[in-house]
Amino acid sequence: MSDPYLAIHGLKKSFALKPVLRGINLELARGQRMALLGANGAGKTTLLRILAALTKPDAGTVTLAHYDLRQDAQQIRHLVGFVAHQPYLYEELTALENLLFFASMYSVPSARERALSLLGEVGLERRARDRVATFSRGQVQRLAWARALLHRPQLLLLDEPDTGLDSEGLALIERLLEQHTERGGTTLFTTHQLERALHLGNQIVMLANGRIVYQQATASLEPAGARRAFEEMVR
């Protein structure tokens, strides 16, 4: 790839001397949707946390839109939207208050209009002034999506983003992802399901013990080969 939007080279991370990432090399072009598959403990979440400038790597380089992660962490944070499987919202605040708070953290212009429009997009406009503590799991996850899109990020990092969503919610995130890609946004998401990865991603990457063991574009992917690699990885 001549000029990748996201470039990861030799990325390593250990926790208490236990290696979690053992030299990850990965490149993503603008507009790509990459699915990260891996068993629990494979290093998926750690990789996403490093890319979100939340965890510092031990070795290796990450550049995003020509910004270096070590030197330009704040600039990178402006570009990244993150949805985790735990939503981490303020339960005692309303949905609108949560979005307005994060809008001020990202200096989002016309914050109220943007927040209300996003609440409409995720189907929560009627619950805008209700406390998050009263929301169902699915509604909380929808709100987490609205928060991630609030500052119009270029890169979406999604850690098992469909947790707690019903079929309607799953259709919603597919639509949001489609819109994000149409606008030129890039996406990196983790999942445990090969079918989901094939459905949403145009690149498949499998992680095992902190290493990439399989990487393929879905367009040129042979389903039986991907299935074999997946079964071997989760074994």
Partner: protein, 244 residues
């Protein structure tokens, strides 16, 4: 175009923004975090109620424990007052950052392009406000129980500067302790030794207000110097304490 993905972040093409613009963003973020914490506390009522009750209980217990006479009142009352303030403060200081860490919302806040100094300053102001509310509740009770004049005008700068010293150190170390398992135990162990100069200074100044003593050292100056030094250090190191 509305809905378009940002091509650049809010910084301009040279990667710089004006100092005024940066200061405006910084203060907006401080205010947003502070207001969020206040609103959260007003609704959950977890910290203030516990702190105020604790401070009142300490004052009541001291009132019964000591034999208060006119001649020893000035010696005992300031100590009791500041012990109540310090213990109640630590109770609250342990909650603000720990609660965010436990719920994971601190991670979410750290994902935002917010200056870590802004987070520290907002948490410090929040803690100072929580402590201030407790002091407003506790001071009249203290005056009644210990039968001493309230001396609001003279006491305000002492209480404010003393509380600032406690909150400055406490906010930094609560962030440190929040990342450990033994946080409730660790916080007082880390904070108490460091705030000793402030507590001594505040107790002596309060004593001096109740029964003026000649040739006292410049306690107010000591507290101000402590506040300035620890505030500067805390602002500088908070980033390293709070990030992984």
């Amino acid at each position: 175009m509305p809905g378009e993905v940002h091509d650049v972040n809010p910084m301009d093409e040279t990667g710089t923004t004006s100092i005024i613009g940066n200061a405006h963003i910084f203060l907006t973020q401080v205010w947003a975090i502070l207001w969020k914490d206040i609103r959260y506390e007003l609704r959950s009522k977890q910290t203030w109620t516990g702190m105020a009750l604790f401070a009142l209980l300490v004052l009541v217990i001291f009132n019964f424990a000591f034999d208060l006479r006119v001649d020893n009142k000035a010696a005992v009352a300031p100590g009791a007052l500041w012990i109540a303030f310090v213990f109640a403060s630590l109770l609250g200081l342990g909650r603000t950052i720990t609660a965010e860490r436990e719920k994971g919302s601190m991670d979410r806040l750290l994902l935002c392009p917010v200056d870590r100094k802004a987070i520290y300053l907002a948490k410090l102001l929040g803690n100072l406000l929580f402590i201030g509310v407790v002091e407003i509740v506790a001071l009249p009770v203290f005056a009644v129980l210990f039968d001493v004049p309230l001396l609001v005008g003279a006491l305000v700068p002492v209480v404010l500067l003393g509380s600032l010293g406690i909150a400055t150190v406490g906010t930094l170390f609560s962030a440190m302790a929040a990342a450990t398992r033994a946080r409730e135990l660790l916080l007082p162990i880390l904070v108490f030794p460091l705030i000793v100069p402030v507590v001594i200074g505040a107790v002596r100044l309060t004593e001096d207000l109740l029964a003026p003593v000649a040739n006292e050292p410049p306690w107010l100056g000591l507290i101000i110097a402590f506040d300035v030094i620890f505030l500067s250090i805390s602002m500088l190191v908070f980033e390293y304490v709070i990030e992984e």
